[in-house]
């Protein structure tokens, strides 16, 4: 905190005193000073507590009409934070407003420096190796090979360089097929289920129009089918609603005709497009942002936003995929329109259901790197990293993270990571602090020389791995249940409070089980070290060394008498306490209150960033 203030002194561009920060859901407010730096907006309270917002997180700034107390300024952030300032003088308010609106020509990642040398930076980028990942799946093998057709991004510029295809797919077939697919995204392997030799492939929609055919594309699918001896057919999943696919035919695109392709089983799964998803999220945010919301409005609003229905649609599709592969042993080809939004969601979630590796911290990074980053999910456009087209913005990746969260709720023991890991990833997808999610595809990233100029998020997350561990994770459970079969009953899809109300402290749970368990583990760890210390003492004693000093040291961590004062938990209408959420949380266990591990402070400090 102090560090932040010092840092501000160096690079502050604008400073406004006497600013009031209003709480979103109560009538509380705090006074402080607002600083604007090149990268952050920082609010320092009188008590010197500070809070900062990265410019990249700001989605919109709105100046409301002048009131008696000052000029209100509402800032909406991409991480679902909403900040409401009241600035005393209108001129100051306008200054802040206009400087926040200035577009910055460079993303934060290029100036962000976590004090690492080049070698550490390079090591950070090497943490994830997709070649090794395909090797882990058992590819290349006798049916699948690595092809170099795209080594110069000639065949498909939104795909990565290294692609895996059936051995029987020759170069002319690949090139022919790519010409028949939207944006040249021909069918390639994304996941290989070794046990049944079944493959999950992905591509974009065929340019079939009403009647067009392409023999190379047909033989490509044939090759995929042949590569799997367990099944006579291959599933083709079109993740769009049928109506959308039909409409695409008029534009010369469309879907595979079952008559032209031998041995395919065609299936629509009905996930809506990016525009529907964007509107749905907007509706959701509107509903939950209402100040005095009645129970009816909440439930009805939640339903009519359709958000949870869309989440369910994605999970349903992933379940279909996982079943087809693990139960029927069939290969599956997944596509949507361009094959970088819904296809990424379904392929990655399906793999997560099938393979326990992806449910570990490292594995989850690999999964995102593979299905999202390398296969060209357009992060720059979808997350609006540099003033792009608002029509291209859509919460597709957020949806994926939410699907994973819904699964962690159903299977608390199956995931190595906790909710905070997902929240942290979401935070940095939008922060532009690390290079991983910049740009729309690998080619752009190479052009930007991101590996040399920015740092990798994965290295940072790995260094903080301790903070993201799920204490309930049981590797034994994963071994016993390699394939997850989630329930899709409607009440299993819940509103993700910690995502959408992450920054509204009054909405946080009063006590968290996660935290209790973490504290417990920490205590056990300390008990173990006490034990070791004692054993050492014992050895010393055995050597007849004197004396009692040592022992006292061990016991020094001192008694705390259990306090008998009445303590108030939670908030009330009249809010009689001054404690912040964090302090309050600490009171739940008088034994461990003082020894709270640093780990858990993350829970409410996700947003706190180093300057």
């Amino acid at each position: 905190m102090f560090l932040l203030v010092v840092c501000v002194c160096v690079c502050v561009c604008l400073q406004v005193e006497q600013v009031r920060l209003l709480d979103r859901f109560s009538n509380k407010s705090t006074n402080g000073t607002l600083y604007l730096t090149a990268t952050h907006l920082i609010f320092v309270e009188r008590s010197l507590q500070s809070d900062s917002i990265l410019h990249h997180h700001i989605a919109s700034v709105e100046k409301l009409s002048l009131t008696t107390t000052g000029c209100p300024l509402v800032i909406q952030c991409r991480n679902f934070r909403v900040v409401h300032f009241v600035v005393q003088r209108e001129r100051d308010c306008h200054d802040i407003y206009s400087s926040l609106l200035l577009s910055y020509e460079e993303v934060y990642a290029f100036s962000y420096n976590p004090k690492q040398n080049d070698q550490q930076r390079e090591e950070g980028w090497q943490i994830i190796d997709l070649g090794a990942e395909f090797e882990r799946m058992g590819v290349p093998c006798d049916q699948w090979q690595l092809t170099n057709v795209n080594i110069d991004y000639k065949v498909c510029e939104t795909y990565p360089r290294d692609l895996y295809v059936p051995i029987t797919a020759s170069k002319p077939i690949i090139v022919g097929s790519s010409k028949f697919r939207s944006k040249g995204r021909f069918p390639v392997l994304t996941y290989f289920y070794q046990e049944k030799k079944a493959a999950v492939c992905r591509c974009s929609q065929p340019l079939s129009g009403f009647s067009a055919r392409c023999l190379e594309d047909e033989s490509m699918l044939q090759a995929i089918s042949k590569a799997n001896h367990n099944s006579r057919f291959v599933y083709v999943m079109d993740t769009r609603p049928k109506l959308n696919a039909l409409a695409n035919r008029a534009a010369g695109k469309g879907y595979e005709n079952e008559d032209n392709y031998s041995n395919i089983r065609f299936q629509f799964v009905g996930i809506e497009n990016i525009h529907v998803m964007r509107t749905s999220l907007q509706k959701l945010l509107e509903v939950i942002g209402t100040r005095s919301l009645s129970m009816s409005d909440f439930l009805v609003g939640l339903e009519s936003s359709g958000w949870l229905r869309h989440i369910k649609a994605v999970v349903d599709a992933a379940i279909f995929l996982a079943k087809a592969v693990t139960v029927e042993g069939a290969s599956v080809l997944v596509h949507c329109s361009d094959g970088w939004d819904r296809t990424a969601q379904v392929c990655s979630l399906g793999a997560l259901l099938m393979d326990p590796y992806y449910r570990t911290i490292k594995g989850f990074m690999v999964l995102i790197e593979k299905d999202w980053i390398s296969f060209g999910h357009k992060f720059a456009d979808r997350c609006d990293q540099l003033d792009g087209d608002p029509k291209e913005v859509s919460p597709i990746f957020t949806q994926f993270l939410e699907c994973v969260w819904q699964l962690t709720e159903q299977f608390p023991q199956a995931f190595e990571f906790s909710e905070w890991f997902l929240l942290q990833i979401h935070e940095h997808v939008h922060s532009c602090q690390y290079g991983n999610f910049l740009g729309n595809n690998q080619r752009q990233r190479e052009d930007l020389r991101l590996r040399e100029r920015t740092h990798s998020l994965w290295a940072f997350l790995m260094s903080e791995k301790q903070n993201y561990l799920n204490p309930f994770y049981s590797p034994a459970y994963s071994e016993a249940h390699p394939v997850l079969e989630p329930s899709t009953l409607p009440y299993h899809f819940k509103f993700w409070r910690n995502m959408y109300h992450q920054f509204d402290r009054s909405m946080h749970p009063r006590q968290s089980i996660l935290k209790t368990v973490l504290t417990m583990r920490e205590n056990n760890r300390k008990a173990e070290s006490t034990l070791q210390a004692l054993e050492k003492v014992k050895v010393q004693r055995q050597e007849e060394d004197d004396d009692d000093d040592e022992q006292e040291e061990v016991g020094e961590e001192a008694t705390e008498s259990t306090d008998t004062e009445r303590t108030v938990e939670g908030s009330s209408g009249t809010e009689s306490r001054k404690q912040s959420y964090g302090e309050l949380e600490g009171t739940y266990n008088s034994e461990s209150a003082k020894e709270e591990p640093a780990v858990v402070s993350l829970e409410f400090g996700v947003a706190r960033m180093t300057c």
Binding site: E303, L489, S506, L534, K538, E544, Q551, T574
Partner: protein, 598 residues
């Protein structure tokens, strides 16, 4: 969702093992009051239409306590074990003249319906089963004793001793300089729905108390429920004043409320919480009831809490049952849930209780709580507020005391609200008031997972035995009736059963919290449907993985580590004692701190 309880499957496993009258788990006939031969009918080839699995063929056994269905075709064998107390209605489906299958349905109080069928040729058999069901499911209507009176199981502890009014008041520090315990109601003459032991302000003599009783509906005078250990602010409960259309006043009642206010030196105000919506309270004036006017009661502030009456609640739960049982409609789940208004009612009750607790804790002001008769909404509010204010009630035994005190002794009319053994299923007196209260408690445990000694299974068990009629705890309408029926003498208390296997009901996350006051967030974003109760019959409700198992492991590890630390320390101490006996003082000093810190 991180649930505190284990999976539903393991829960049913557990309850199957734990259910006291054992012997039914195998087909063999055991010897207990339940299974005397003349009370037992058994039939082969009955079809049970499970809404989730489909039709199952098996055998049905009906005793004077339960219906037991077993289907051997499946692996593992399908078993349905239903205490007849939960049956609210038995209906014949299909006429006897038609030649097809004839069936009958059981509508249950615990959010499920069951359907069975026989072949037509077995009609006489069906009749006999139907008759036996009608007879034993509704013993009260047939002039039979409720099964609790025949169930003679002996437990190591006598559950009826859990609550003793005098010692509970003593725990709260009563009598003190402003409150006394009175025996004026010893023979239930002042108020027949109140307990014999009451706590009232010191300066109100018993004679005056009787005059106050005349002004309160059913004679339910304001009496102490809870007193704040520090500020002496109190929670008192009563029924509505008999104001009537003419705005009648009672000097004694006004003086009485003034005495309650005076008993708390910290505040010169008194809050009267009327649980009803103001419209309903005003409408009650037509029937001679009403509410305190602020003119008549100086320094008192009246607040309406807008909680609806028993009929609205009954209707709400009925709708909820339609929504969740047997199948849930995927597309309109949330709006269907909304249309029941169930969560909205829960929210209002919790918000009311929170306001009461806040006034007492933060405002140091005494409160008077009432509704119409002061035995439904009032009981919900006072007991919830007390649960927030006093950590003792959040222990297992404390919760038992809370129920015995605020619900049972103060005359929540369990017999009427639940309709034990009564076939009149349309009775307007039935209402899920108590279920609602337990739901609110569950919501609290969700927000404060470490503050309660009991787990979800404890709450579900209480609700199950609310209907089962196995224990005497929830029989009758008042303390007086229970004494007249000799319930404590002739039946077993639910607490005897629960306290004999506490480990089943203990929350592993519990840390002693006795000095904390819980103020829950009653925001709708924190309230959720209690899936573990209302939707527990649905097998598609994926059992939660036992998260608490993991915590138990950690606890066990801690215990083990503690033991080793102790051992080592003893060893070290002994060694040093032998080596340097002159310093005998220091080792003992160093033992204690480590223990507290581990």
């Amino acid at each position: 969702m991180l649930s505190l309880t284990s999976s539903s499957t393991s829960r049913s496993d557990r309850s199957a093992q734990a259910k006291p009258p054992s012997g039914m788990s195998s087909d063999s006939v055991a010897t207990s009051a339940e299974l005397s031969p003349e009370l037992r009918v058994s039939t082969q080839d009955v079809t049970y239409f499970c809404p989730f699995i489909g039709a199952l063929r098996g055998t049905v056994t009906v005793t004077n306590y339960r219906l037991f269905f077993k289907c051997m075709d499946r692996e593992p064998a399908f078993v349905l074990d239903l205490p007849l107390g939960v049956v609210s209605r038995v209906e014949k489906i299909g006429s006897a003249s038609s030649r097809g299958d004839v069936s009958y349905g059981l509508v249950c109080k615990d959010i499920r319906n069951l359907r069975f069928a026989h072949k037509q040729m077995e009609d006489t058999l069906r009749k006999s089963i139907f008759e036996v069901l009608m007879k034993f499911a509704f013993p009260v209507s047939n002039g039979l004793p409720i099964f609790a009176f025949e169930y003679g199981q002996v437990f190591p502890e006598n559950g009826w001793k859990v609550y003793d009014a005098v010692s509970e008041y003593k725990r709260q520090g009563i009598p003190n300089e402003s409150w006394r315990i009175t025996k004026v109601n010893d023979h239930y003459e002042v108020c027949d729905t109140y307990p014999s032991t009451l706590a009232v302000p010191v300066n109100i003599p018993d004679e005056e108390l009787k005059r106050v009783a005349a002004f309160r509906a059913k004679g339910r005078v304001p009496v102490l429920s809870w007193i704040h250990p520090e500020s002496q602010a109190t929670v008192t409960r009563c029924s509505q004043p008999m104001v009537g259309v003419n705005g009648k006043r009672s000097k004694e009642d006004e003086k009485y409320l003034q005495a309650i206010m005076d008993a708390n030196a910290q505040s010169h105000k008194l809050f009267i919480f009327d649980a009803r919506p103001s419209v309903n309270a005003a409408a009650n004036k037509m029937k001679g009831g009403g509410f305190e006017s602020e003119d008549a009661y100086q320094n008192a502030e009246l607040v309406f809490l807008d909680i609806h009456n028993i009929h609205v609640m009954r209707e709400s739960l009925r709708k909820l049952k339609d929504v969740v049982y047997p199948n849930i409609e995927d597309s309109h789940w949330l709006s269907n849930l909304e249309s029941t208004h169930w969560l909205e009612h829960i929210k209002l009750i919790m918000a009311g209780a929170l306001r009461i607790a806040d006034k007492v804790e933060s405002g140091k002001t005494s409160v008077v709580v009432h509704c119409s008769d002061g035995w439904d909404r009032t009981a919900q509010l006072t007991s919830l507020a007390m649960l927030m204010l006093d950590g003792y009630y959040r222990t297992i035994r404390g919760f038992e005391v809370l129920l015995e005190k605020e619900w049972l002794s103060f005359g929540h009319r369990f017999q009427l609200r639940v309709g034990h053994g009564d076939k009149n299923h349309t009775d307007a007196d039935r209402s899920p008031v108590f279920i609602q209260f337990i739901d609110c408690v569950w919501q609290l445990t969700r927000q404060f997972p470490a503050a309660f000694e009991f787990n979800e299974y404890f709450l579900v068990t209480i609700l199950d035995h609310l209907y089962s009629c196995l224990f005497g705890t929830f029989l009758c309408n008042s303390e007086q009736q229970r004494l007249k029926e000799e319930v404590p003498k002739r039946t077993v208390s639910l607490w005897a059963y629960i306290n004999s296997q506490l480990e089943e009901f203990t929350n592993p996350l519990y840390v002693n919290y006795s000095n904390h006051v819980l103020f829950p967030v009653v925001s709708l974003r924190h309230l959720e449907l209690w899936v573990g109760y209302y939707i527990r019959w649905n097998p598609r409700m994926r059992p939660q993985e036992p998260v608490h198992q993991r915590y138990k492991e950690l606890l066990a590890k801690r215990a083990e580590l503690q033991k080793r630390v102790d051992e080592l320390q003893r060893e070290v101490t002994n060694r040093s004692a032998s080596s340097s006996s002159e310093r005998a003082g220091s080792p003992t000093r160093s033992i204690t701190p480590v223990q507290t810190f581990v």
